[in-house]
Amino acid sequence: MAITFTLNGGRQTVDVHPQTPLLWVLRDTLGMTGTKFGCGMALCGACTVHLNGSAIRACITPIASVAGKSVTSIEGLSADTTHPVQQAWMEEDVPQCGYCQSGQLMAAASLLAKTAKPTDADIDEAMRGNICRCGTYSQIRRAIHRAAEIKSSGVKA
């Protein structure tokens, strides 16, 4: 079944089973592998993308439910790796293995879109669903605070 949606600003049509999760459409059908598979049950956050601007778990989102909507994946967060969270992540050298970081960045970007200056409690609330087995949590927290500064100052690297 052909399903049309907007992906990173461009129109995208795919012909897959309507129950196929967005995650596997992105990864296997479209070859957009920046979005990661971690658990398949919305338990780890590795597959976090934005649907109409809000963070969702692509692994439990049937492709049929995104028809006509707008999806942003890590590849579309910025054209040149200059989104404030990406700048901050680079300043803090957050990633270790890096596998969970696409999801962490997408969750953090969604938090900052809604809360310009998040507190530690806001960060706990928004980010506790994103697991990192390398233990980069302290750096993630610092980077989110830094990204808020970058965003409010309007500076682009």
Binding site: R27, S78, D93, I131
Partner: protein, 699 residues
């Protein structure tokens, strides 16, 4: 990052001549390299005529920072411009690189000398080329950040402009290395080279391999360890939309689809009857009972000093205790996966593996090809932690690919597959007896260990991974006895970050606290007294105690301490906790580490934090339990791990010494659990002798 070196040679002809030997000389280099990494700059360094510098990274990157830290070793001695450094993963070539694998926190330890020598040889060749060009004595020349400089004339030539001439020179041997006092790249917190790709989605992990024409596979495996397929009916699976085919493989039944989800749906519909085998009778309570019985029996002796029996019999105060640790899953964020294509005369693999050379050998064996007919592409690992030191998932992908020659197959394990078909950190059990003298100082310690073995040698010998952390204790206790009895309940086990130390340091350091309490000693004071023969461990203990303000915790908090010497490094840790109405909170962890010469302080700090988080998950969160031969956990809902809101404040203090570098990736895992358990004792008076720490144990 995945350009093969030989491809690189071909496509780069005339452009990237650089420090690349022609093939004939390369064969000679291979001869020199046999038995260990070659002292050959060409194996590690390409200097392009455009001044680019590309380093070939021989060790897989699983987060531990090898791409960056190994580059620092090369760049320091090559004296190139750090800003121009690019990296690629090296091809698998044991003749050139020795045994390529990442385990035992060995990457810096095994690369410290050869990579610096390679960098120094490369620099010497560039200097020689400049000396010939200028017609001056090379001894007059210096290098400066990617240039050869003649201080007498002020002349400068960039490395790129000298690369072609340098490539024609012989590789010098025994080039002197820099005095560490001159280091400008080693020892500095340079930014990681892999960060950008990991924040914009372009980093290619194993699961991201893209091969034209590839199909997607999952495998149904017997839920009971050691079980086999008795029979299966593929009809319903084949009827699922998107399923292409169903085939039996040695590990189970593979379902192949046009995407991973279709294959997973097909697997759900598959009808399989399993022959579960004898492990179907195994459960965790039975394993525990088995270990307890074995610990009562004589085992293989790992350590015997003085006369434990006599000292124990005559001691002033005695303590007996039993400690236990469960199986643990590795659960890296990237589930196991591998992409493979098998042809009549070749095999190509894209894998996130800690064992590049071992993976290639396994594929050669399974396909009947020669190792050199197997091309293994190294991609980033989404975590390893020891799980990817086994190549079972790689072999499984090759087996599936063998059923469809010429078609690339991407095999993906679901999280449940990953958690229920892991090779686990062994469960373990120890029976301690210890005694203190009339002054309260420990005089006798006995540990009888029972646990599985995965690293065993000859029968009757001790598997060092079963007892390390106990028989390796550096404390001066005059009468010690450690033995081990192998207990094998049939659950597969393997290396898990920090290996035997992960449970044994908990056992030993918590029991030592019991001896301290029995003798009325402060835990830090006791350790100081017993570490007279271990100055490096004593130094980190003192640093951690000082920085944690030992003995004066914040109001309502309590402290615990532990130390470990593993992987050639020395680590001390103080945990500060509170226990409020049965709820444990780890507020702060102070860690001091001596890993000898420092390559990148920021990466060391990352790794220390990483180990603490990994150990906190295993100590206070999930455990793998067995019922009817099956793992009862399947995903992060019933095998929970530490989250951002549970993160303690971590203070890392690096105690720099001039010693040969030690490892770092596994340094901070072992002391976390005992430091926390000892702090809980300080808070509650309860001794927690079984991991993980559960809320019900604290009430």
């Amino acid at each position: 990052m995945s350009v093969n070196r030989r491809d690189f040679l071909r496509t780069g002809a005339g452009l990237f001549i650089g420090l690349m030997l022609p093939e004939s000389s390369r064969l000679a280099a291979q001869g020199r390299g046999r038995g260990g990494p070659a002292l050959n700059p060409n194996a590690y360094i390409h200097v392009g005529t455009d001044d680019s510098v590309t380093f070939l990274i021989t060790k897989a990157e699983m987060g531990q920072g090898t791409v960056t830290s190994l580059s620092q070793l090369l760049a320091e001695e090559l004296d190139c411009d750090w800003k121009k450094v690019r990296t690629e993963f090296a091809p698998v070539d044991p003749a050139l690189y020795g045994q390529q694998g990442v385990y035992g926190s060995q990457s810096i330890r095994s690369s410290w000398a050869p990579l610096r020598q390679a960098g120094a040889a490369g620099r010497a060749m560039l200097v020689e080329a400049a000396a010939q060009k200028w017609g001056v004595d090379k001894a007059q020349l210096q290098t400066d950040n990617g240039f050869v400089v003649n201080p007498a004339s002020g002349a400068r030539l960039s490395y790129g402009s000298l690369a072609e001439a340098a490539s024609k020179l012989p590789v010098p041997a025994g080039v002197p290395l820099k005095d560490p006092k001159q280091f400008r790249i080693i020892g500095k917190s340079v930014k990681r080279l892999d960060t950008r790709a990991k924040v914009n989605g372009t980093a290619q992990f194993g699961l991201d391999a893209k091969v034209p024409g590839m199909v997607f596979a999952v495998v149904a495996r017997c839920p009971v360890f050691g079980g086999k397929v008795a029979s299966f009916d593929p009809t319903k699976a084949k009827a699922v939309p998107g399923v292409k085919t169903v085939v039996q493989v040695p590990s189970g039944v593979a379902v192949i689809g046009e995407n991973t989800w279709a294959a997973m749906q097909g697997r759900k519909a598959l009808e399989i009857r399993w022959d579960e085998g004898p492990v179907a009778n195994v459960n965790s309570a039975g394993i525990s009972k088995m270990f307890a019985e074995y610990a009562e029996q004589p085992g293989a002796v790992a350590k015997k000093s003085g006369d434990f029996e006599q000292a124990f019999a005559g001691a002033a105060k005695k303590v007996n205790a039993v400690y236990e640790a469960p199986y643990q899953s590795h659960s890296p964020m990237e589930p196991m996966n591998c992409t493979a294509v098998v042809r009549a005369d070749s095999c190509e693999i894209w894998a996130p593996t800690q064992m590049q050379a071992g993976g290639r050998s396994a594929a050669a064996q399974l396909t009947g090809l020669k190792p050199e007919q197997v091309k293994l592409n190294t991609l980033f690992l989404g975590g390893g932690f020891g799980r990817r030191s086994s190549v079972d998932y790689l072999s499984e992908a090759v087996e599936v690919a063998k059923t469809m020659p010429g078609t690339p197959v991407k095999l993906t394990w679901s999280r449940e597959d990953d958690m229920q078909h892991d090779l686990y950190r062994p469960a373990s059990y120890v029976k301690f007896s210890g005694a203190v003298d009339a002054e309260g100082w420990p005089v006798a310690l006995s540990a009888k260990v029972a646990c599985p073995s995965f690293f065993g040698g000859r029968p009757g010998a001790v598997d060092s991974t079963a007892v390390e952390g106990i028989h390796t204790l550096e404390y001066t206790i005059p009468n010690m006895y450690v033995d081990w009895r192998k207990a094998d309940p049939g659950i597969p086990t393997t290396f898990w970050r920090a290996v035997g130390y992960t449970q044994n340091t908990f056992f030993a350091e918590a029991f030592l606290d019991e001896l301290a309490a029995a003798g009325g000693k402060d835990p830090v004071e006791l350790r100081r007294k017993l570490l007279g023969n271990s100055p490096r461990l004593l130094a980190v203990l003192n640093r951690a105690a000082e920085k944690a303000n030992w003995g004066k915790p914040a109001a309502g908090r309590h402290q615990g301490v532990a130390v470990v010497n593993n992987i050639g490094s020395f680590t001390a840790m103080v945990a500060e906790v509170s226990v409020d109405k049965g709820k444990l909170k780890v507020h702060r962890v102070v860690c001091a580490v001596d890993c000898g010469h420092i390559v990148n302080p920021a990466i060391i700090t990352q790794q220390i934090e990483s180990g603490i988080v990994y150990a906190l998950s295993a100590s206070t969160k999930g455990a793998i339990t067995i019922d009817k031969g099956r793992v009862q956990q399947g995903n992060f809902n019933n095998y929970d791990v530490l989250r951002i809101d549970e993160m303690p404040k971590i203070d890392v203090h690096i105690v720099e010494t001039e010693n040969t570098p030690g490892g770092i990736g596994e340094a901070s895992v072992p002391p976390l659990a005992p430091a926390v358990a000892n702090a809980i004792f300080a808070a509650t008076g309860k001794r927690l002798r079984k991991l993980p720490i559960r809320q019900e144990d604290l009430v």
